[in-house]
Symmetry: C2
Subunit: 307 residues, 2 copies
């Protein structure tokens, strides 16, 4: 039987999905070996593909990587110790009979959500993943927006404050990532709990705990959430004013806060967005950590079958 592989290469593990058409029939993962400049990553993947193919015929391989991609070339991926790598060519040489797709991982997750997750209804949407950092993927008329240098969707680095208050890992100041990611929420929590009567002085200050305690009514936690929402609404309003998507889809670890987060975000967004984009829908992503392999599989399936 013909099969397709969707492979999501992360800094600690490589997730591999095997598909018959759009059906995920097998899911596994291997550790990412980032030694020697990430030179073992492809050979590790080849071994696993060959093992998982069994009696089937691989007709497509889609991979997602944590870095900018233009026309099948990865321009760099810090977490993998990769500099510029011609991923498309490397895969095609090893699997000449396979169709190959190479994507940025956030873009791939956006496609996965469009194919089988929370964005099935949409052809124009922004996928925002909020975890340790904030990333995103943009789909317009059903097509990924790659960007001139493979860097569209770097929405974690929208500036949302003007006091050089918090420096970002990217070197800039006041990127939204510093306020609305899990890391940013913890920073705000640690600031606001000082000298206040809050459960945050008695439990570990994590994004999850802050949301859980906010739901239970802890005032400081509610304040932390409100500050996060203010920044997130500002950035999503900017996104909507610029590209006017049908929907903004929120995924990543922080999205586990669910409706509590989404309702507050949508309310503040409607107050901050230009009137003609105010009805942008907000939705939760549905595929969690599997969005990437679904998107990688979808991208290559589309190349083979054109749908």
């Amino acid at each position: 039987m013909n099969c397709i592989f969707g492979i999501d290469i992360g800094g600690t593990e490589i997730k591999i999905g095997k598909f018959y058409q759009e059906h995920l029939v097998l899911k596994t993962s291997i550790k990412t070996n980032v030694s020697d400049g990430g030179n073992h990553i492809f050979s590790d993947i080849f071994l696993k593909i060959d093992e998982l193919t069994q009696n089937d015929t691989a007709e497509g391989i889609g991979i997602g990587v944590p870095g900018p991609v233009v026309n099948g070339v990865v321009l760099g991926a810090q977490n993998l110790n990769w500099k510029r790598i011609e991923a498309q060519r490397i895969l095609k040489e090893r699997y000449p009979n396979c169709e190959i797709a190479v994507l940025n991982d956030a873009n791939s997750a956006a496609l996965g959500e469009m194919d089988q997750g929370g964005a099935k209804k949409y052809q124009n949407f922004v996928f925002m993943t909020i975890g340790t950092g904030i990333g995103g993927g943009i789909v317009i008329n059903g097509q990924l927006v790659e960007g001139a240098t493979g860097s569209s969707g770097e929405i974690g680095h929208i500036r949302v404050a003007f006091g050089n208050e918090r420096q970002c890992t990217c070197g800039l100041y006041d990127c939204i990532e510093q306020y609305a990611s899990a890391t940013g929420i913890v920073k705000t929590g640690n600031q606001l709990r000082q000298g206040r009567d809050t459960v945050l002085n008695r439990i570990e200050v994590t994004s999850k705990n802050i949301f859980d305690q906010a739901k239970l009514g802890d005032e400081v936690c509610l304040e932390v959430v409100a500050q996060m929402i203010e920044k997130l609404a500002t950035a999503t309003a900017a996104i909507a004013n610029i590209i006017n998507p049908e929907a903004i889809l929120i995924g990543g670890g922080v999205s586990k806060a669910g409706g509590f987060l989404l309702t507050r975000l949508q309310k503040r967004f409607r107050e901050l967005a230009f009137y003609s984009v105010r009805d942008t829908e907000f939705r939760l992503a549905e595929l969690g950590n599997d969005a990437g392999i679904y998107g990688d599989g979808f991208a290559v399936r589309k190349k083979i079958y054109g749908n």
Copy 2:
């Protein structure tokens, strides 16, 4: 001979261009009659088209309007006193043998600049028009991004301050339009000149005068320009982080400040944008007030000839 009309409907005048293929052979304008809910606008245009067609055969009519457009329907245009108008259908009924295109005016200007102006080199760019207000058009892979509700490119309403300092005409606070449009620059000029030794206390405070005097070294004017640049760089960095265009094209009255504006903007942009989009090019628009008719003509030519 076959001809095409490009028609740019503004709040005070309607510009009309007659084209043989891509060549503008005649340009004229009529006053916009916004009385009776803008009901005379189409009949005035019909008269003029019929007069200008002469012995030629009109094969296409493209119109640009100051409001959101989805699939040929204008959702509203305040400056024309228009509510929802099925512009495409109205034009097609009167000119059944013509191909029709209906566009938002900023989108149309973007297309015009791509066809025959400052964006000829690009397939992925953002056109930003800075005049009394700030508007924009977005082109990705050579295609206009219309947006879910015809409102992509509302970049004048990106929030660039957090103190509810200046209320915008749209009702929101701290839209970039309030800081970086001609109107915004005058506001800043009037704030900063108080109690200071500046030529602004002896001449009319206009955007043009402020730029002219900044070029001559007036310190307060230089400060006004710096504040404008700070906001503009923040917004363009957000735009670049989101869609990673090849270039940002600056047009509109304020762009007459030329290289003086562009150099400062690009410098500050490079300091504020995410590293992988830092090389976004900045260019000046070239077609001035004619960009719209060129874009309207281009859009309909593309419908007829597919290029």
